[in-house]
């Protein structure tokens, strides 16, 4: 287990129902940015949620291991797991408009983990929050600390959330489609900011997205998912040069090119879909619950 985050054969399913993750394995090294790519429903978000222990109640992990910093999270008691995740990992959520508590001041929402979980003094935590807000280039950080979420724009709130995620120097950050809910103009800034912050802090980053364009900008490696199955795991450079799996290739072909918008969209061919579906079915051959 050399990787900082190592997921081994993780299977998850709706309780008593169909499987959502099919023996997923993937590693994220310290300082690595790994993209999780797939269509909606491919299970990419589920992986992030499983790592952070926030799977929906209806979903349960049925098999596998999640090693975080040398410990298998799934073998810990719930209280210990929660504490451990809180101390070593953080989430950059999808929608900045709903991810901040409307009735609590921004400052408290950044410092709460430092004070309550990690035992910092309030003064130190506040200084740290200010430092981070400066780092993510929020103007007037002192005022923002005292503000309520509704007083800030969407882009500002996403910056606050990024500051909050990095505040405790976590070793792993899960970014769950962090730019999907933002305006296109803001998207680029936020993407660049996440990349800069990651580089500066050396954090391992699990970047969940459906957008291969985003992957090419931020990630070093990526895993392509279909139907809860990892169909390809490779470096970004190799992927864009020559994707190994036919589904990956089709996905890449289906993505509009920024360089050549006139090329148009190529939907994933039916034959490719059939082939990858057969793979998913094959993975389920030994699955007892159907």
């Amino acid at each position: 287990m050399s990787a900082f985050l190592s997921i081994r054969n993780l299977s998850a399913a709706i309780r008593g129902g169909p499987r959502l993750l099919r023996a997923v394995s993937l590693d994220v090294e310290v300082g690595e940015v790994r993209g999780l790519v797939g269509e909606s429903g491919a299970g990419k978000s589920m992986i992030g949620k499983a790592v952070l222990g926030i799977l929906p109640r209806a979903v349960e992990v049925v098999a596998g291991e999640i090693w975080l910093d040398g410990v298998d999270l799934l073998r810990l008691r719930p209280a210990e797991r929660r504490r451990r995740i809180g101390a070593t990992a953080a989430l950059i959520p999808q929608d900045p408009l709903t991810a901040l508590n409307p009735s609590r001041r921004i400052g408290r929402q950044i410092t709460d983990r430092l004070v309550d979980i990690l035992g910092w003094r309030r003064g130190a935590a506040e200084a740290r929050a200010l430092e981070l807000l400066n780092e993510v280039r929020v103007p007037e950080p002192e005022r923002v600390m005292r503000a309520y979420p509704h007083e800030l724009s969407g882009g500002m709130r996403q910056r606050v959330l990024i500051a909050s995620a990095f505040a405790a120097e976590p070793k792993l950050i899960v970014a769950d489609e962090p730019t999907t809910a933002l305006d296109v103009t803001v998207q680029k800034q936020i993407l660049r900011l996440i990349a800069q912050m990651q580089a500066r802090h050396g954090t391992a980053l699990l970047f969940v997205t459906h957008d291969l364009g985003v992957v090419s900008k931020v990630c070093g490696s990526l895993s392509v998912l279909y139907g809860g199955l990892v169909v390809e795991e490779t470096s970004v450079r190799d992927f864009f040069r020559a994707p190994a799996h036919p589904y990956s290739a089709a996905l890449l072909a289906a993505t509009p090119k920024y360089t050549d918008p006139a090329a148009g969209l190529n939907p994933v061919p039916a034959a490719v879909i059939d082939a990858v579906r057969a793979e998913v079915a094959a993975a389920d051959r030994n699955w007892p619950h159907g």
Binding site: L52, I54, R83, R84, Q94, A99, P102, S103
Partner: protein, 335 residues
């Protein structure tokens, strides 16, 4: 904006109160039995009856009586009770504290009980525990305070007689009080013995009033809490390492509580309305008990006074809740 809202609300409140007084006045004056004749000894002559009728103004038309009565009310004169031969206002204000203390105690119990049910239900959501709480709530909700009162009398007054089920305070203590706010006074004077005696009398009627409201609070608050628990900031708090209880109390509760607060305002007036029969049931010497006596004795001025006081109380509570909501809302508008 807020000022204008306050002014219009005050105006409609005034119209409502006038309407209430007209309705009471008209309804009461259709009373067939002559209350004056009932007051006099059997040998009284028609002249005696006429004299008393004139004294209480019953010989005039309803409209005239109303104008005279309203004129008196505006000067703080609600007339004189036929039965007790004392000013109505004094009688009513003497009893008001008893009813207020009972209602507020019931409200506190309802909020604590309902809040507990909602939080526990949220904590146990999706499990059998939640189902049990839902069933309990449904039962408590569909049975009114009157029946809960009877059940409590049976259980805690007869089967397991631990509480008093009659009266407001034990007779030997009545002389002790200098105000009519017994419970309040016992706390201020740090008289634990008095306080315990009062609570032992009030707990059962207060609980009877509180049970249905607790169920309503439990249901609505749990529903809002569960909706809030799905929101992203709650999930984010989980990833920070917080315990479930902490997540519910600090992240979800403050954002889920507003609809319940509004509801409590309206329901509190219903609860006060319930004191009428509950006070009767527990022989509790409050306004409601006095009101029923007044109706039975056909004490017209007293009935009027009590109904108007109840109406003032109700509309005042609604007014306060409305204004409170207007003040609270801007900050939470984006919730």
């Amino acid at each position: 904006m807020l000022l204008r809202r306050i002014l219009t609300r005050l105006l409609t409140t005034l119209v409502t109160l006038l309407g209430v007084s007209v309705v009471v006045f008209v309804v009461i004056r259709v009373v067939p039995g002559n209350p004056i004749a009932m007051m006099l000894p059997p040998g009284a002559t028609q002249a005696d009856i006429d004299r008393l009728n004139a004294l209480y103004g019953f010989d005039r038309s309803i409209a005239e009586q109303y104008v005279i009565w309203l004129g008196g009310v505006l000067q703080g004169d609600f007339g004189t009770s036929i039965q007790a031969r004392q000013p109505v206002l004094r009688l009513v204000l003497n009893r008001l504290p008893a009813t207020l203390e009972l209602s507020i105690m019931a409200l506190v119990i309802a909020v604590v009980l309902g809040g507990f049910l909602a939080l526990t239900g949220t904590r146990l959501r999706g499990s059998r525990g939640e189902g049990a709480i839902d069933v309990t709530n449904g039962m408590a909700l569909s049975v009114p305070d009157f029946l809960w009162g009877l059940v409590l009398i049976l259980v805690f007054g007869v089967l397991w007689p631990v509480f008093h089920i009659s009266g407001r305070v034990s007779p030997q203590y009545i002389q002790e009080f200098t105000t009519n706010f017994f419970l309040f006074e016992s706390v201020l004077r740090l008289r634990l013995d008095l306080w315990l005696d009062l609570v032992s009398h009030m707990l059962m009627p207060a609980l009877a009033l509180a049970i249905p409201l607790a169920a309503i609070i439990g249901q609505l608050l749990k529903q809002s809490l569960k909706e809030t628990m799905h929101l992203d900031y709650v999930t984010l708090a989980r990833t920070k390492g917080y315990r479930e209880n902490h997540v519910i109390l600090r992240e979800a509760l403050p954002n889920a509580v507003l609809p319940t607060l509004t509801l409590i305002g309206v329901q509190f007036t219903f609860l006060i309305g319930g004191t009428v029969i509950i006070e009767r049931l527990f022989s509790y010497e409050g306004l409601g008990n006095m009101a029923i006596d007044a109706v039975i004795n056909r004490d017209l001025p007293l009935i009027q006074g009590i109904v108007i006081l109840f109406a003032v109380l109700f509309t005042a509570i609604n007014l306060i809740v409305d204004l409170l909501y207007a003040v609270l809302n801007p900050r939470l508008r984006h919730a």
